[in-house]
Amino acid sequence: MLRSKLDNGHDKLTRTAFVTIGATAGFRGLLQEVISEKFLSTLKSLDFTNLVVQCGPDLEYFNTIRPQDAQDSYGVEIMAFSYAPDLKKHFMQASRGEDDNGKRDSGVIISHAGSGSIIEALEFDSRLVAVPNPELMDNHQLEIAEEMESQGFLIHGTLGSVTEAVKKIDTITLRKWPPGPSPGSAYQKVKLAMTLGLN
């Protein structure tokens, strides 16, 4: 789809990868990986134009390791910030739509596997790679990422293979979110509302 639009002369079509690591903990492993040569060249080959990185506490660190000029970043424009109370506009940038800067193709969101971030990211017409932060023990990021991948809503990415995850996500169709009640789900049964006297 993207290619045909490009052929039609919509040269302003942008495509963004948005990386978000959450508000609380740092995630240097992921920051390093998304500015690796391998990752950036893959972005370029998949027609990505922008890379937006929410770095949390590691913005300074990120600025020291990021490529300093456009040549090193394979022409992908890199923008970084620490945190914003509302990440909506960045999620939007990574999803299909249109704004003052022209048309946007559906991009990709690469997020840490915190439940809040996953839920927020899935609301947008984009595709999500969730990467568990191995430094956070006992916070169930791995469980969520695996389970949500098995339900077909996202791709579970691991450090060292985020590039492959992004390549893969470009070729498959993910399930639509929100999914609606699963067959035979208690949600459908009026019992719930009845027992509570809610209706």
Partner: protein, 293 residues
């Protein structure tokens, strides 16, 4: 093997402790009430001071009276339409509050004079702001469709134990916390038009430790028939983030059977007493009142 045995041991210890706490609370409430009644009786009888034998006799009599009242007497009370109760939601730190908001945001339906009471920790300003922002969104959204989003209030409780607090002072903060909880459960919100709902109809919580205490106090209040059985129905929703194991609060609440309905959002957590509702926090697919886009 080993872990299984450990779990079994933990289970046994957990339930003993819980039974102890449960029994203790009921006993204390019971004795307290009895004592209060005894005092009142003495006052009514005009006795200037309380003598030894008389006190015991009166206490026994009052106990018997109270037990008789509990067994035979108490009026169950009735819910007269929707506005006689309100919903109490107990939110904890960050993630719990966000999930609670997420659930309400999607599933809320217009109701006649509904009221939401949010309970947050005194030190949890972030949750407080989040709830305010959400209620503002809700008001705008309902107004756009000329509908009433109902009323709300935010109440705050002290924590039983703050992070890094000394265990020596913990009993005191715990008592203060219990008093806060008791106050929240029994004080009607003033925002709602008459008839003022006396007690919450439903108490919902999704994981913070204090949620357990709320449900425990609610159970105690119902046991002594201070609150009619038609009120303070309890609903526990395990966090969406819990896929393979219940949270500590979830385990405690399930073991003490404090929740009338116990919802889990992962098929790995289902059991005889759990209700499975996968991805409940994004139900229904289409919200009753559309989101503004």
């Amino acid at each position: 093997m080993n872990t299984n045995r450990d779990q079994a041991v933990q289970t046994a210890i957990g339930s003993t402790v819980l039974d102890f706490i449960k029994g203790g609370i009921v006993l204390i409430t019971f004795l307290g009430t009895t004592l209060a009644i005894t005092m009142v009786v003495f006052k009514l009888m005009g006795k200037p001071h309380i003598g030894g034998g008389g006190t015991i006799l009166a206490t026994v009599a009052a106990s018997l009276f109270l037990m008789g009242y509990l067994v035979f007497g108490a009026d169950a009370g009735t819910v007269r339409g929707l506005s006689t109760h309100y919903i109490l939601m107990i939110c904890g730190s960050g993630g719990h509050t966000a999930e609670m908001i997420q659930m309400v945001e999607r599933s809320i339906r217009p109701e006649k004079s509904s009221h939401r009471r949010w309970a947050v920790g005194k030190d949890d300003l972030k949750s407080y702001d989040k709830i305010l922002a959400f209620e503002r969104r809700l008001l705008n959204r309902f107004s756009c469709h000329s509908m009433d989003s109902g009323t709300f209030d935010i109440v705050r409780f002290g924590r039983a134990r703050y992070v890094h607090q000394s265990w020596l002072t913990t009993p005191f903060t715990a008592i203060l916390s219990l008093l806060d909880i008791l106050y929240i459960l029994t004080t009607p919100p003033y925002q709602n038009p008459s008839p003022r709902p006396r007690y919450p109809g439903v108490i919902v919580t999704n994981g913070p430790g204090t949620g357990f205490l709320f449900l425990l106090v609610a159970r105690a209040l119902k046991l002594i028939h201070l609150v009619p059985a038609s009120h303070m129905r309890t609903l526990y929703v395990e966090s969406w983030a819990r896929v393979k194991s219940l949270s500590l609060t979830g385990k405690l609440i399930r073991r003490a059977k404090l929740a009338d309905i116990f919802i889990v959002q992962s098929r790995f957590l289902t059991g005889p007493s759990e209700t499975l509702s996968e991805n409940l926090l994004v139900m229904p697919e289409q919200p009753y009142i559309p989101f503004d886009t």
